[in-house]
C-alpha cells in the first residue's frame, strides 16, 4: 500500500454554503511516483511533472494533489469530504498496486489559455482596478498564478456568477487557490 492515510486537516467554515465546501488534507507521504500512472488512469487530469502536481475533476469537484497536500472543492458537507477522501485513497493505492499493467504518462495535457480566461471576464472595460493594464493582462496573470480572481471586483456581481464559476474551475484545475 503506497499511502497509509489521508488526513483531513481543514474544512471551510460554516460561512460557506452547501456545495461550496472545500477541504485540505495531508497525505501520509508524497505521491510523485504515482502521478505518471494517475495521469494514464485519469485521462482528463492535468499533470505538471516539474511542479509534482496532479489536478483533475470528478463531477464538479476539482482535486489537486501536490507534495503532502490534497485539496478538493465544491463539496456539500463533511460526510461528503470523508467520502471523497476514501475515494482518493482507494484511487491512489489501487493505481500504485496496478502499476505493472499501466503505461506511465509523463505528458502535460493542454492547459487552459489566457484567451479562454479573457473571454470569461466581465465587461472587459479595462477599469484597471485589478492593478493590471488591461483585462488581457489580468487573464495572463491569472494563468501564471500571480493574480487572484477576486482582484476583479466586477466578477462578484450576480450576473457574472456563471462566468466566475467557470473561471474558478479553470484556475483550480491549474492548482491555484481561488479565494
Amino acid at each position: 500500500m503506497y499511502l497509509s492515510t489521508i488526513s483531513l486537516i481543514y474544512i471551510k467554515p460554516c460561512t460557506t454554503g452547501g456545495g461550496r465546501i472545500k477541504f485540505r488534507a495531508k497525505l501520509s507521504n508524497p505521491v510523485p511516483e504515482v502521478m505518471p500512472y494517475l495521469n494514464t488512469v485519469i485521462k482528463t487530469g492535468l499533470y505538471i511533472p516539474s511542479a509534482h502536481t496532479f489536478t483533475y475533476k470528478i463531477g464538479s469537484h476539482i482535486i489537486n494533489i501536490h507534495d503532502h497536500n490534497l485539496t478538493c472543492t465544491q463539496l456539500t458537507n463533511e460526510a461528503e469530504c470523508y467520502e471523497m477522501i476514501d475515494q482518493l485513497y482507494q484511487l491512489i493505492n489501487e493505481t500504485w498496486e496496478n502499476r505493472a499493467s499501466i503505461v506511465p504518462n509523463e505528458e502535460t495535457r493542454e492547459r487552459p489559455s489566457a484567451i479562454q480566461l479573457y473571454k470569461l471576464l466581465p465587461r472587459k472595460i479595462g477599469c484597471k482596478i485589478c492593478g493590471q493594464g488591461s483585462c488581457m493582462g489580468f487573464a495572463s496573470k491569472l494563468i501564471l498564478g500571480t493574480c487572484r480572481l477576486n482582484q476583479c471586483t466586477l466578477m462578484k456581481e450576480a450576473e457574472y456568477a456563471p462566468n466566475y464559476l467557470s473561471l474558478e474551475a479553470h484556475l483550480q484545475l491549474l492548482g491555484y487557490e481561488t479565494d
Binding site: S7, Y10, I11, G17, G18, N77, E78, A79, Y82
Partner: protein, 383 residues
C-alpha cells in the same frame, strides 16, 4: 455473582473496547463533531463518519451519508413515521409492534388522520406474507414491521415483505431493534427503504445511540431543526444528508463507542454470534421445559427467533418471580408487558404480563443454570 439475562432491553456487558474508546475520546479529544476549524474537531468528525461507514457496510447500504444518527431506535421510528406520513395515508403493520411504533402510529391516527391496518399473526408470533398483501389498499403509503418481536422473539419474513412492498411501490420501514447485530440484515437484498436501529442492544454499543438508514428518495420532514455546523447562513434545515435529519451537538462519544462495538462484531462475525446465541437458546428452552408449571410462549425454536424467551409459572405473578430472582439469586430478568401490549394480546397475557429472558453474546450456559436453579428455589419456597 450477578447473572444478567436482560439483553433484549440492553446488552451487558459491552466489549471492553467500547468504554476504552469513549474514555480516550473524552479525555484526549473532547471536541464536537461538525465543521471544525481545528484538527481535533475534524478528527472527531472523521470518527463519526467512520461509524456511519461501518453501519452502511454491516447492513449492505451503498451510501454512508444517508446513515442518520439519532438518540434511539424510538426516535428513528418517530422520525420516519412522523416525517413521511400525511393525512389519509394508510399504513400496514404487524401484530407484534413495540410501542415505539404502535404509539407513534396511534398518535398519527388521532392527530393527523392516518389509517392503520394490523396484519394478524399466530399465537407464536408468526406472520404470513399473504396476510400482509391482503392488508394493502390503494392508499397504503408504508409497511412498518418489527424484524423480531421483543416479547416472543419471533423473526418476521422481512425479505418477503420487502419484495412485496417494492413490487407494490410502497415504502418499507423495518424496526431492527432486536435483530441488528445478531440477525443478518441486507438493505438491498431485502428491499428495505428505511431501517431503524439501536446501538445499545445486539450492536453492543452504548445507550443514546441509534439511527435511521434512508434507502429511498422520499422526502422526510425533519423532527428537529437547528445547527448542523455548516451552511449556517441558510435559514432552514439543509436538504442534503445526513444534515437534513441531524441537528444539534451529536453524541460523539456514544457514536465512537458504537464504532468500536461494530469493529468487535466484525471481528467476531455475525455467524459466530448467532450460533452461540442459538445454542444458548436451545439449552435454555430445554432446561425451562423441565421446570414445573412452566408456560412457554413463542415458537420455542431458536432458528425462528432471536434470543428472547417469554414464560410464566402457572399460578404465579411474573413480577414476584423476577423480584425473587433478583433479590435471592442475583439473576436479572424482565417482567411485565415489555412495552409491547400487542404481542401480549396475541398470547393472552396483556393483563398479567410475562417473565422474559434476553440472551446475549456474553452469556454462558452457567447463566442459564443459575436461572433454572433460581426458578426451582422460587417454586420450592412459594408452592
Amino acid at each position: 455473582m450477578d447473572t444478567y439475562l436482560d439483553n433484549a432491553a440492553t446488552s451487558f456487558p459491552k466489549p471492553l473496547a467500547v468504554p476504552e474508546v469513549i474514555y480516550d475520546y473524552i479525555v484526549n479529544n473532547g471536541a464536537t463533531s461538525g465543521r471544525g476549524s481545528y484538527e481535533k474537531a475534524i478528527l472527531a468528525d472523521g470518527l463519526v463518519y467512520q461509524t456511519r461507514k461501518k453501519l452502511a457496510k454491516l447492513f449492505n447500504h451503498h451510501d454512508p451519508k444517508t446513515v442518520v444518527f439519532t438518540s434511539s431506535v424510538t426516535e428513528s421510528l418517530n422520525l420516519a413515521l412522523q416525517g413521511i406520513l400525511k393525512p389519509g395515508d394508510h399504513v400496514v403493520t404487524s401484530s407484534l409492534e413495540h410501542n415505539a411504533v404502535w404509539r407513534c402510529l396511534k398518535t398519527l391516527e388521532r392527530d393527523r388522520g392516518i389509517n392503520i391496518s394490523v396484519v394478524p399473526a399466530t399465537a407464536t408470533g408468526e406472520t404470513a406474507v399473504k396476510d400482509v398483501a391482503a392488508a394493502i389498499t390503494p392508499d397504503t403509503k408504508m409497511i412498518v414491521f418489527t424484524h423480531a418481536s421483543n416479547v416472543l422473539g419471533t423473526i418476521q419474513p422481512i425479505g418477503e415483505i420487502g419484495a412485496l412492498a417494492r413490487k407494490k411501490d410502497i415504502l418499507f420501514l423495518v424496526d431492527a431493534a432486536q435483530t441488528a447485530g445478531v440477525v443478518p440484515i441486507d438493505i438491498q437484498a431485502q428491499n428495505i427503504d428505511l431501517l431503524a436501529f439501536t446501538g445499545h442492544k445486539s450492536l453492543l454499543g452504548p445507550m443514546g445511540t441509534g439511527g435511521l438508514i434512508v434507502n429511498c428518495a422520499t422526502d422526510i420532514h425533519p423532527l428537529i431543526s437547528g445547527g448542523t455546523g455548516g451552511d449556517s447562513a441558510y435559514e432552514y434545515q439543509p436538504d442534503y444528508y445526513p444534515n437534513h435529519l441531524e441537528a444539534g451537538t451529536m453524541n460523539v462519544s456514544g457514536i465512537i463507542g458504537l464504532g468500536a462495538a461494530l469493529d468487535f462484531l466484525e471481528a467476531e462475525g455475525l455467524d459466530t454470534i448467532r450460533h452461540k446465541e442459538d445454542n444458548l437458546m436451545n439449552y435454555a428452552l430445554e432446561a425451562l421445559r423441565d421446570v414445573s408449571g412452566i408456560e412457554l410462549y413463542g415458537p420455542q425454536d431458536s432458528s425462528k427467533t432471536v434470543g428472547v424467551i417469554a414464560f410464566n409459572l402457572q399460578g404465579h405473578v411474573p413480577e414476584e418471580i423476577a423480584f425473587y430472582l433478583d433479590q435471592k439469586c442475583q439473576v436479572m430478568i424482565r417482567s411485565g408487558l415489555h412495552c409491547a401490549p400487542s404481542a401480549h394480546r396475541l398470547i393472552g397475557t396483556v393483563n398479567r404480563g410475562t417473565c422474559r429472558i434476553g440472551i446475549g453474546y456474553f452469556n454462558e450456559k452457567t447463566d442459564i443454570d443459575t436461572l433454572i436453579n433460581g426458578l426451582k428455589s422460587y417454586l420450592k419456597e412459594n408452592n
